[in-house]
Symmetry: C2
Subunit: 216 residues, 2 copies
C-alpha cells in the first residue's frame, strides 16, 4: 500500500518534470540540477561559474532550501535573476515546486539555469525536475566512502565534482580510489576535482558545461 503511494508520487512527478523540460526546450534553455550534502559548495560553485560565464551567456538560478534565503541573496548580488524555493521542511525539490518557481523567472532571457537542490544526498536523487543534466558536488572533508553509502545519487548523476581539493593536504581522501568506485557504479559519469576557494579545476568544469549546452 505504501509502495503504491510512493510509485504514484514518483509517476506524477515524472509527468510534471517532462512538462518542465518541454518549457525549457521551448525557451532554448539548458537546466542543471545541482545536488550535494549540506555545505559541500553548491552556491560557491554557482558563484565561481558565474565568474567564467556571466559575460558569455545569460544565467538564472533557482535556490532550494528548507528555510532561509541566504543563498538567493548571495546570488542576487551578482545581478542575475534568482528565485528562492523554501520547502518548509521538505528534504528535496520536486517538479511541481519547480513549475511554480519558473513562473517568476524571465525564461526567454535565460540560456543556462542552475537549480540548487536542498542539501541532501538521498531524496533529491529520486525526483527529476525536468533538468537536462544532474550534477553532484562531493567534497574532500566528507570522506571518500560516500559512493558506498549513497549509491542512488552517485548512480544517477551525469557529473561528480570533488570540491575543496585545497584541503587535501590536511585530510585523508583518495581521489583515485573514489573515482574508480564512482566509475564502477556509473560508467558515463564525468569527474572533476575542483576548489571553489582557489578556482582550481573550474575551467575544466565550465568547458564540460559549455559542451553539454551545445549538445555535446
Amino acid at each position: 500500500m505504501e509502495i503504491k503511494v510512493v510509485k504514484d508520487i514518483l509517476d506524477a512527478n515524472e509527468r510534471l518534470a517532462q512538462r518542465n523540460q518541454k518549457l525549457f526546450d521551448d525557451n532554448k534553455l539548458f537546466a542543471v540540477n545541482l545536488m550535494s550534502s549540506p555545505g559541500a559548495g553548491k552556491t560557491s560553485l554557482i558563484l565561481q561559474t558565474l565568474k567564467h560565464l556571466k559575460e558569455k551567456t545569460k544565467i538564472g538560478v533557482i535556490e532550494g532550501d528548507v528555510s532561509s534565503s541566504l543563498d538567493a541573496e548571495a546570488i542576487g548580488r551578482e545581478g542575475i535573476p534568482v528565485v528562492q524555493i523554501n520547502t518548509g521542511g521538505g528534504c528535496h525539490l520536486d517538479a511541481n515546486m519547480l513549475t511554480t518557481a519558473l513562473d517568476s523567472l524571465p525564461l526567454g532571457d535565460i540560456k543556462l539555469l542552475f537549480i540548487e537542490n536542498v542539501g541532501n544526498l538521498i531524496c533529491p536523487a529520486e525526483f527529476s525536475l525536468g533538468e537536462h543534466r544532474k550534477v553532484l558536488i562531493a567534497s574532500v572533508p566528507e570522506g571518500d566512502d560516500k559512493p558506498f553509502k549513497y549509491p542512488l545519487m552517485f548512480h544517477t548523476v551525469d557529473a561528480v565534482l570533488i570540491n575543496k581539493i585545497d584541503l587535501l593536504p590536511y585530510l585523508k581522501f583518495d581521489i583515485d580510489a573514489f573515482s574508480r568506485t564512482v566509475k564502477g557504479m556509473n560508467q558515463k559519469v564525468e569527474i572533476f576535482p575542483i576548489s571553489c576557494t582557489t578556482g582550481q579545476g573550474i575551467g575544466e568544469w565550465v568547458s564540460w558545461l559549455l559542451r553539454q549546452m551545445k549538445g555535446g
Copy 2:
C-alpha cells in the same frame, strides 16, 4: 489529505518510540541519537568516545545507513556489540526500524547505546526513536550558516558538537557567531567544539555524556 497521512505516520512513530524508551529504561540503558550531514563525523565520534569510555561502561551501537556496512565494520573491530540498519533508500531511521534492530542486541549488557542515524540534516529531526538525548554533529567545513538552513534540527537537539576544529586555520567558520545563533534557537542546548582527529574537546563531551547518564 497529505498532511493527515504525515500526521498519522508521526503519531504511529511516537507510540513506537515510547515503547523503545520503556525497553531502554527497563534495561537501565541510556540511548543517544547521533545525527549529522554525511561525513561530519558520527562514526569518528563514536570511536573517539569508545577510547574514553570502553573500560568504564558497556557500550553498544546501532548503525543507520541507506546502504553498506562500512561503519558497522569499523565499530565491530572495537569488539563491542553493533547492529547495522540499512534503510534501502529511506532518508532517516524511524522507531520501528529501531525496534527490529534492538532484538539483535544484548540490551541487558549495555549501559550506553549510540544510535548513528542516516547522514541527513532534515528528516531525522522529525522521527523520535525513543532515545534519551539527541545530539547533532556539525562540522567546520560545512560552514556556519547551517542553523538558518536546517532550523528544526538545531531546535530539536540537546547538544551540538562542532567537529573538525583542527581545520579552522584553513576555513571561514565563526564559532562565536554560530554558537550565538544556535543558542538563540535553542536555549537549553550545549555546544562542544571538538576534533575527532586530534581528540581536542572530546573530554568535555564525554563528561557531559556521563552527567546525562547519571540524570544530571
